[in-house]
C-alpha cells in the first residue's frame, strides 16, 4: 500500500520544481475545464501561458505588468516569512499612488529634477503610513493584521474615488473623474527609447537582488526567518517580534506604495477610478509562486504578468472573458499549495511489518 512519509528535511529539488509542476497542472486543468464549459480550452491555455513569452513584441508589456507585481511581492514575501500576513498591499499601493499624486498636483506648475524623487518619496511614505495602521494594531493590541490590512484596502479605494470625483478632479477634464495628467518632470522616464519599458522595471530587478542579500546575508533577514519559524526561539535569541512586525509591515507597505507611484507616474500618468487593478492581490500569488524567495519572485512575477498579457490575447483569440485570468491565477495558487505537500512529504510503499 502507498503511504505518506514526512521527509526529514524538505526536498530541495521539489522546492525548485514545484512551481513548474504547478504551472503544468494548471495548464492541464485549465484546458480540461475551459473545454468542458464550451471554450477552446487548448488555445485559451496557449494564449495565456505560451503566446506572451513566444512573441517578443509582448515582452515589454510583461515587464511593465511584472514590475509592480515583483516589487509588491518582494515586500509581502519577507512579511510572510516572519508570519506577518499583510494582505492589504492593494490599499498600500493605492495610498502610495495617492500620496505621490498629491505631490504632483502641488508641483504641476513647477519644473525641476527634484519633483519625481519627491513623488517617489511620498509614494513610499504613503504606502508605509497605510501599513503602519495594521502594524500598530497588531503590535500594541494583537489585532489580526489580516483583517485590518484588508479592510483598509476598501477604505483606500473609496478614498481614491472620493479624490478623483471631488477635490482632485481635473478642472479641464470635462468633468471626468480623473486627475490632471502628470507633467514631463513628474513622469517616470523610459529606459528604452520609444517603448513602454520604464524605470520601474530595472528598479524592480535591483530590489530583488537587494532583498535576496538582505534575507540571505544579514542578521535582519535572519531575524525575519527566526521570528516566522520559531517565535519562542527568536525571543530566546534576542530578536524582537514587535520590531520585526513593524519592519516587515513598513517594508511591504513602502514597496507597495513605490509600485503604486511608479504605476501612476508611468503607465497611467494620472489617477483614475480604474487605477486599482488588483496587483496587490495578485502579488500574493507571485510571492507564493516564487516560494517567498526574492529571486523566485522575479520568475513568479514574469509568469503572472504573462497571464495578464495572455488573458488579453485570449479575449480576442478565443473570446475568453477577462475573469478567466483571475481564475487561472487562483488555480495556479491552489495547485502550488497542493504540490507543496511533496516538498515536506514523500510517497512510498508501505514497509511490510515482518
Amino acid at each position: 500500500m502507498l503511504e505518506w512519509r514526512r521527509r526529514r528535511e524538505p526536498s530541495l529539488p521539489m522546492l525548485v520544481l514545484s512551481p513548474l509542476i504547478a504551472i503544468g497542472l494548471t495548464m492541464l486543468t485549465g484546458m480540461i475545464v475551459f473545454t468542458a464549459i464550451g471554450y477552446d480550452g487548448f488555445h485559451a491555455v496557449e494564449s495565456i501561458f505560451l503566446t506572451p513569452f513566444l512573441e517578443p513584441q509582448r515582452w515589454a508589456d510583461i515587464g511593465v505588468k511584472g514590475a509592480p507585481l515583483v516589487m509588491i511581492a518582494l515586500g509581502l514575501a519577507i512579511g510572510f516569512r516572519a508570519n506577518v500576513w499583510n494582505i492589504g498591499a492593494e490599499g498600500q499601493y493605492v495610498m502610495g499612488a495617492i500620496a505621490g499624486t498629491g505631490v504632483a498636483l502641488l508641483t504641476y506648475d513647477m519644473t525641476g529634477w527634484w519633483i519625481l524623487p519627491a513623488m517617489v518619496l511620498a509614494g513610499i511614505l504613503g504606502g508605509m503610513a497605510w501599513a503602519a495602521i495594521p502594524a500598530l494594531l497588531r503590535v500594541k493590541l494583537q489585532v489580526s493584521e489580516i483583517l485590518t490590512s484588508l479592510m483598509l484596502t476598501y477604505v483606500a479605494v473609496q478614498f481614491l474615488y472620493f479624490l478623483v470625483r471631488g477635490p482632485w478632479k481635473d478642472p479641464g477634464g470635462f468633468n471626468f473623474p480623473q486627475t490632471r495628467m502628470f507633467t514631463a518632470d513628474q513622469t517616470l522616464p523610459t529606459v528604452i527609447e520609444g517603448s513602454l519599458v520604464h524605470l520601474g522595471i530595472p528598479v524592480a530587478l535591483l530590489l530583488a537582488v537587494v532583498a535576496w542579500l538582505l534575507m540571505e546575508k544579514t542578521t535582519a533577514g535572519y531575524a525575519v526567518k527566526v521570528v516566522g519559524l520559531a517565535p519562542a526561539a527568536a525571543r530566546h535569541g534576542g530578536f524582537s517580534a514587535a520590531r520585526t512586525t513593524w519592519a516587515t509591515m513598513l517594508l511591504s507597505g513602502g514597496l507597495a506604495g513605490l509600485a503604486g507611484l511608479f504605476e501612476a507616474a508611468g503607465p497611467f500618468g494620472q489617477l483614475t477610478p480604474q487605477f486599482p487593478v488588483g496587483y496587490g492581490f495578485t502579488a500574493i500569488i507571485v510571492a507564493f509562486l516564487g516560494r517567498l524567495h526574492p529571486l523566485g519572485i522575479v520568475f513568479g512575477g514574469i509568469v503572472l504578468a504573462g497571464t495578464y498579457v495572455g488573458g488579453e490575447i485570449a479575449q480576442s483569440t478565443v473570446r475568453l472573458p477577462q475573469a478567466a485570468t483571475g481564475l487561472f491565477q487562483a488555480m495556479l495558487l491552489f495547485m502550488l499549495l497542493a504540490i507543496d505537500v511533496l516538498v515536506r512529504w514523500q510517497i512510498g510503499w508501505k514497509r511490510r511489518a515482518a
Partner: protein, 518 residues
C-alpha cells in the same frame, strides 16, 4: 495488594513471544510476561528499553509483528484502543490528553466511548471520587488544576469503565512525593478490588514500595522477572542499565567563589494564558558551584528561565545582577553578551529552530559573544567553523553542520545546544531539564560538561524535575513551588523526605487539609 493467587486462575493478561520492529530498530523482541488478577506488576526499564512500544501493543495503539496476547486465558486481538477498553483495559498516559479550556466533567465525557447523560455521568463521577476519596471538583476548568489533579481526571476516566487491567505509564514523573503517596493508596485500593495494574516506571524505590512483581526490560528484551520486595535496588538498577553504575566525577571539593549571579526580589506575572506568577524570587549563584532548583512542573520554572535569559524583563535593573552589574532591564542579547547563557527546557522551537541547520542555529545565541555577524552581515565561514567546533568537541552525531536541527535525536540536539552555550564560556549558565528525554549515555556526558564548566569558575544553575539528577549534580539545592523559591540548602545536609516536603510546599499541605475534610 497481596492477593491470594491460585494456580488454576488464568492470568488476567499474558503476553507470549511479542516482537515489534520499526525501520532500523527492534523495539520489542520475544517478550513474554503475565499479570495475575489483582496483581500490581511493574514494567521496569530505561528510556528506550521498549516499555512504551509494549504498552502501546497491549492498549491497541500498535500491533505486534509476532506473538500472542491472552486475556483471562484466551487469545485475543486488540486492533485499537477502543477494542482494548472494551476488553476492560484502561490506560493513564504519561502525557495527559486533556483540554485545558474545558471542565473536568467535559474532559471525562470526552474520554468515554459511549455518550452518557450529563446528570448520570455527574453522579457516577461523584461516586468514584467518594469511594476512592479523591479530591477533585468536576466543574473546574482543567487549566486551574495541579498536575496531580489532572492525573486524577485520567484515573477517574478509566475507573468509570470498570477496568480489569489498568496501565499506568510513568505516573509519578510529575508528582510531588506527597502526591505519589496518595496515588499509591488509590492504586492499592484499585488492586485490592481485583483490578490488575501494569505499572511502568524506571524509579526503583517506587516499584519496591508498590509492586508485587516486576519485569525488567533492556534493549527491547526481557532481562529478568523478579519480586521487587526481595531483590535489592542496586541489583535491579544494574539489570536495567546493563552495567555497573557509573558515578559523575566531581573535582576536589571547591571553595565557594565570588557571587556571579544574584537575583533579588524578582517578581513577574505568569505567561498568558495559564502561566505561574513569580513571587519575590531571590538567590545567588557563586563561581564554581552548581545550584539546583527542584520542583514539580508548572510551578514557575519556565517563567524563571525566561526572566533570567532576558526574554522577559524584570521590573527593576537591580532584580538581576551579573557579576555585580544590574541587568534586569537588559534584553536577551545584551545579557548573553555579558556572559549570561540560558538553555530552556524545550529544545525544538525554543532553544533551537527546528527548520534551521545546525550552523544557522549557532548564530541564534552565539552571535553576541563571537564574531559571527560583524556589522549585521553574517559571516558564513565563521558560522560554519563555530558549528563544526561544537559538533566535534561535544561529540554531536550528525551528518554535518548543514543538517536541520529537527533531524537530530533529542540527545544529540541537546549536546549541540549545550555545546553552543558552553563553547562561549559563559560567566553563568542556567539550564532547565538538561537531560529530559535524552538517552543515558548522552545524559551522563551532559552532566559531566556541567560539572566541568563549574570547575572552570562559571556559576551553573540547573532547574530540573529529576531529583536524582539534582542530588547527583548540585552543591546546593532550593525548591520552586507556586512561583516562590525556597532558601538554598547544601545538598549534603538534605534527606529525600525533606526535599519532598519542600516541593509539596503550601500546595501539598492545602490538599491534605482538603482531603481531611472530604
Amino acid at each position: 495488594m497481596n492477593q491470594p493467587r491460585e494456580q488454576d486462575v488464568p492470568p488476567r493478561l499474558a503476553l507470549a513471544h511479542i516482537s515489534k520492529s520499526f525501520p532500523g530498530v527492534k523495539a520489542n523482541e520475544d517478550i513474554s510476561l503475565s499479570v495475575a488478577p489483582g496483581e500490581i506488576h511493574a514494567l521496569l526499564g530505561e528510556n528506550g528499553a521498549g516499555k512504551s512500544t509494549l504498552v502501546k501493543i497491549i492498549y491497541g495503539v500498535q500491533q505486534a509483528d509476532e506473538g500472542t496476547i491472552s486475556w483471562n486465558g484466551s487469545p485475543v486481538a486488540i486492533p485499537s484502543p477502543k477494542a482494548a477498553r472494551k476488553l476492560g483495559i484502561g490506560m493513564v498516559f504519561q502525557h495527559f490528553s486533556l483540554f485545558d479550556a474545558m471542565t473536568v466533567i467535559e474532559n471525562i465525557a470526552l474520554g468515554l466511548d459511549e455518550a452518557v447523560d450529563r446528570e448520570e455521568l455527574k453522579s457516577q463521577v461523584a461516586a468514584i471520587l467518594q469511594s476512592y476519596s479523591l479530591p477533585l471538583d468536576p466543574e473546574r476548568e482543567v487549566h486551574t488544576l495541579s498536575v496531580g489533579e489532572r492525573q486524577r481526571i485520567e484515573i477517574v476516566r478509566c475507573l468509570l469503565q470498570k477496568p480489569k487491567l489498568l496501565i499506568m505509564d510513568e505516573p509519578t514523573s510529575v508528582l510531588t512525593p506527597q502526591e505519589v503517596e496518595r496515588l499509591f493508596a488509590t492504586l492499592r485500593q484499585i488492586a485490592a478490588e481485583g483490578c490488575s495494574i501494569l505499572y511502568i516506571s524506571h524509579k526503583l524505590h517506587e516499584i519496591k514500595a508498590l509492586c508485587d512483581s516486576a519485569t525488567i526490560l533492556r534493549g527491547g528484551r526481557v532481562v529478568a522477572t523478579c519480586d521487587p520486595k526481595v531483590e535489592t535496588t542496586r541489583r535491579m538498577a544494574e539489570l536495567m542499565i546493563g552495567a555497573e553504575l557509573r558515578k559523575i566525577e566531581h573535582g576536589q571539593t571547591k571553595e565557594a567563589g565570588a557571587v556571579r549571579l544574584a537575583v533579588s526580589g524578582l517578581s513577574l506575572p505568569g505567561e498568558p494564558p495559564f502561566g505561574t506568577d513569580l513571587k519575590g524570587v531571590s538567590f545567588e549563584a557563586r563561581a564554581g558551584e552548581i545550584l539546583g532548583i527542584a520542583g514539580v512542573a508548572g510551578n514557575g520554572q519556565a517563567e524563571l528561565l525566561t526572566a533570567l535569559s532576558g526574554e522577559r524583563l524584570a521590573a527593576a535593573p537591580e532584580a538581576i545582577r551579573l557579576d555585580g552589574r544590574a541587568v534586569g532591564l537588559e534584553g536577551a542579547g545584551a545579557r548573553r553578551a555579558l556572559g549570561l547563557s540560558c538553555v530552556p527546557e524545550e529544545r525544538n522551537g525554543h532553544a533551537a529552530v527546528p527548520d534551521f541547520s545546525l550552523a544557522d542555529n549557532g548564530v541564534l545565541t552565539a552571535r553576541h559573544r563571537l564574531p559571527l555577524a560583524p556589522h549585521g552581515f553574517i559571516s558564513r565561514g565563521a558560522v560554519s567553523r563555530f558549528a563544526d567546533s561544537v559538533i566535534k568537541l561535544f561529540d554531536v552525531r550528525t551528518t554535518g553542520n548543514g543538517a536541520l536541527a529537527r533531524s537530530l535525536s533529542g540527545g544529540n540536539l541537546q549536546k549541540f545546544i549545550m555545546g553552543r552555550e558552553i563553547g562561549q564560556q559563559p560567566a553563568v549558565l542556567v539550564v532547565s531539564q538538561p537531560t529530559w528525554g535524552v538517552d543515558a549515555g548522552a545524559a551522563a556526558a551532559i552532566r559531566q560538561e556541567l560539572v566541568d564548566l563549574a570547575a572552570k569558575g562559571s556559576a551553573v544553575v540547573v532547574i530540573s524535575q529529576d531529583l536524582d539528577e539534582l542530588l547527583e549534580l548540585a552543591d546546593r539545592l532550593c525548591v520552586i513551588n507556586e512561583g516562590r523559591l525556597s532558601a538554598p540548602r547544601p545538598v549534603a545536609s538534605l534527606g529525600i523526605d525533606e526535599i519532598g516536603l519542600m516541593m509539596g510546599g503550601i500546595h501539598g499541605a492545602g490538599e491534605q487539609v482538603g482531603a481531611a475534610h472530604a
